[in-house]
């Protein structure tokens, strides 16, 4: 009963904050609503005993990705009229994509209700069951190729991102940190013995 209550409360908050993401005028608030919806979906995942995924969602998306989002969004000077310019032009396409997504979600929910194996997967496990261990075993045995592929694509993205920001401007003065660290006292300071003046 308690679980059901928690589910309904978090699910309501999740839907509300998801609506907030697309309706709030201030982009900082939109980002914060997104944070709230990540946290509430983590709670929902905890309810179906997916604690590893739930905590990783909070760690990666809330703790790192959204911090960077906020970082960028806070520095933007957003002009809402410019943003709304293309609304009429893109609206039909947006409707089509939204319709496809809604159809997919509804069909998944139907499949869950109609006794397909999806429904059984969400059943509770024994108390000693470790979600993390199971995900690790699955990823590194059954799905090792896909896992490595995903890792490779991510690595590629990192390299690409670094290459995009790496530009050599002429006349740039850089600090040579190694030389700074290697500096010894003798290079900078010279102690001179000065004889005191006598009268």
């Amino acid at each position: 009963m308690l679980t059901t209550a928690i589910f309904w409360i978090t699910a309501t908050v999740l839907v509300g904050s998801a609506l907030g993401v697309i309706t709030s005028r201030n982009p900082v608030f939109a980002a914060l609503f997104l944070v709230l919806s990540f946290v509430t979906s983590a709670v929902l995942w905890l309810l179906i005993e997916a604690e590893f995924l739930a905590l990783v969602l909070v760690l990666v998306y809330v703790g790192a990705v959204m911090v960077l989002f906020l970082f960028v969004v806070m520095m933007l000077d957003v002009n809402m009229t410019v943003l709304r310019e293309g609304f009429a032009r893109y609206a039909p396409w947006a409707t089509i994509f939204a319709g496809v997504i809604v159809f997919e979600l509804v069909s998944v929910i139907w499949a869950t209700g109609s006794g397909l194996p999806v429904a059984n997967l969400l059943a509770g496990q024994a108390p000693g069951h470790s979600n993390t261990e199971e995900i690790g075993l699955e990823l590194f045995t059954k799905h090792v190729v896909e896992f490595e592929l995903a890792a490779f694509i991510l690595l590629l993205a990192i390299v690409a991102a670094i290459m995009l920001t790496l530009r050599q401007r002429p006349g740039l003065r850089r600090q040579n940190v190694a030389a700074q660290v290697a500096t010894r006292r003798a290079d900078r300071v010279r102690l001179v013995r000065v004889e005191p003046e006598r009268e």
């Binding site: 703790g63 911090v67 806070m74 470790s130």
Partner: protein
């Protein structure tokens, strides 16, 4: 261990009884923590005072012991000023966002053998996830204050924390590999048998990286660029006063105690005794036998030890420059952790080293 309370409250309905028992466990921990925070501020001023050949606070109460209470009363009585055109809601929420994760993480810390308030399986992940939330308080405080200095502090803090969290996470991957579990209680049990079996020895580089990243995560000197009182007055909390400022202060010190506790749990054997090894077997049967027993006292001693490190660092080092912080985080700490994780992986496979049985 709370069966007697469970029996005593048997007239209550089940969910309510569970709630009472949880609160009974949380309350003493919370009160102890807040008292520790209060006296940590006193300790900090006293220790740094002695290091700089001063006396430190000595006016309120015997030897200045009541200084923290005087400070608290002063802060509570002051007015909370909300800057004009600041975002009122976020301005007042930000301090809460920084204190809540600092306190909530204590739920999974194993306090004495076989006890943590929430004995959850993925404790290490929970710790990482919650410590990563603390930055929101700083960022939102900086943005909501509608002040350039506060905003600069928030920007610095956001970049710094994201950078150091990666190093911190990698260091914890090493702990997870050595401990063979994400449960903090199990990790402590893996370190049984005296100080040579604690993880600080086989994971020495990771221990150093973790502690440095911990200092950076708590925005303490020499990584306190978010505050940087000599450059950007007081950084993210420049506009805060009264109780709102006090909560930021509380959060900072609660975070310090938390990092000290986590270092003790993950690298220094948590509640294990320093004298547990066979070298000290001669103590058995003597009146001093009790020092070999694992207990909460040992955890407290270790936390106090690391707290002293925090204060010592602050009194010793000048503040890092911002680009040097980034260089240290990305180009030094992260490569060190990656190399050591690889070394550890090879040693686990080859069954070399104290963690060989952990798989």
């Amino acid at each position: 261990m709370l069966e007697w309370l469970d029996n005593l409250l048997s007239f209550l309905p089940d969910p309510l009884r569970a709630l009472v028992i949880i609160v009974v466990q949380i309350a003493p921990l919370l009160i102890t923590l807040i008292l520790c925070v209060a006296f940590l501020t006193y300790l900090e001023r006293k220790i740094i005072g002695y290091m700089q050949v001063r006396i430190g606070p000595n006016r309120v109460g015997p030897r200045g012991w009541f200084q923290p209470f005087a400070d608290t009363i002063k802060l509570i009585l002051k007015e909370v000023i909300i800057p004009s055109r600041a975002n009122r809601f976020l301005f007042l929420t930000a301090p809460l966002l920084s204190i809540v994760p600092a306190l909530a993480t204590w739920a999974v810390i194993p306090l004495f053998p076989g006890f943590a308030i929430a004995e959850i399986d993925a404790g290490l992940l929970y710790v990482l996830a919650l410590t990563s939330l603390g930055v929101y308080g700083v960022i939102l405080a900086g943005w909501a204050s509608n002040s350039k200095y506060a905003f600069l502090g928030a920007m610095r803090s956001a970049a710094q924390i994201v950078a150091y969290e990666i190093a911190m996470g990698f260091a914890l991957v090493g702990v997870l590999m050595a401990g063979g579990s994400l449960n903090l209680g199990t990790i402590v049990e893996r370190q049984m048998g005296g100080f040579l079996n604690w993880f600080w020895l086989p994971l020495f580089p990771l221990f150093i990286v973790y502690f440095i990243a911990g200092v950076a995560e708590t925005n303490r000197a020499p990584f306190d660029v978010a505050e940087g009182e000599s450059e950007i007055v007081a950084g993210f909390h420049v506009e805060y006063s009264g109780v709102a400022f006090a909560i930021f202060f509380l959060a900072e010190y609660a975070n310090i105690i938390l990092i000290a506790a986590l270092t003790a749990v993950m690298f220094f054997g948590g509640w294990e005794s320093f004298f547990a090894g066979s070298w000290f077997a001669f103590l058995d049967g003597t009146p001093l036998e009790f020092v070999r027993w694992p207990s909460l006292a040992w955890l407290a001693v270790k936390i106090a030890f690391f707290l002293f490190w925090f204060l010592w660092l602050r009194a010793t080092f000048p503040r890092y420059r911002y680009d040097q912080i980034m260089r240290l985080g990305w180009k030094v700490l992260i490569p060190v952790t990656i190399v050591w994780i690889m070394v550890e992986g090879v040693m686990v496979v080859a069954q070399v080293g104290p963690w060989s049985g952990a798989t």
